[in-house]
Symmetry: C2
Subunit: 92 residues, 2 copies
């Protein structure tokens, strides 16, 4: 059942941390969202985080929040997304 | 920034538990996904879980996994979704 996962570059959590300033306002500096309509990211599955970010980037999630996320991610490449996914998945 | 959240019925976690047999295969009986391309649900924000399930139901998430999720949720009403969100958000 994981055949639909995107191929993901190897992520570097320490590099990912440097790429997350814009994530923190909504998802929390500790990966726990301060408002209940934003997801917690701390400890989330790495591949899922990567797939979800790509889905926003590729327009496969629709709506006001998805549009906002697409904008947030627009300057990040797939290596950046893998690094960010590694950072949050390793967070306790 | 939470103005886009859907209005959510009050969820009952104990009723939610009874509605999750089909969730568990992919998201784990403890809410921790056994495969990395499925999200963990344990402790996730209640409103986000509800919004995400509605997004699948409403076709606002697209792709093979989203199609699968839409099918999984097709017989659940908004009260069911709120109960399921309450169940997983309360899980440690």
């Amino acid at each position: 059942m994981n055949t639909n996962a995107y191929a993901m570059p190897k992520g570097d959590a320490s590099k990912g941390e440097l790429k997350t300033p814009s994530c923190r306002f909504c998802h929390g500096s500790n990966g726990i969202a301060p408002q209940p309509n934003y997801p917690n990211l701390a400890g989330q599955q790495q591949q899922y985080l990567y797939d979800a970010m790509l889905a926003y980037t590729n327009g496969m999630r629709i709506g006001p929040m998805a549009t906002m996320m697409k904008g947030q991610l627009q300057n990040l490449n797939t290596q950046d997304l893998a690094d960010i996914a590694a950072y949050y998945s390793a967070m306790k």
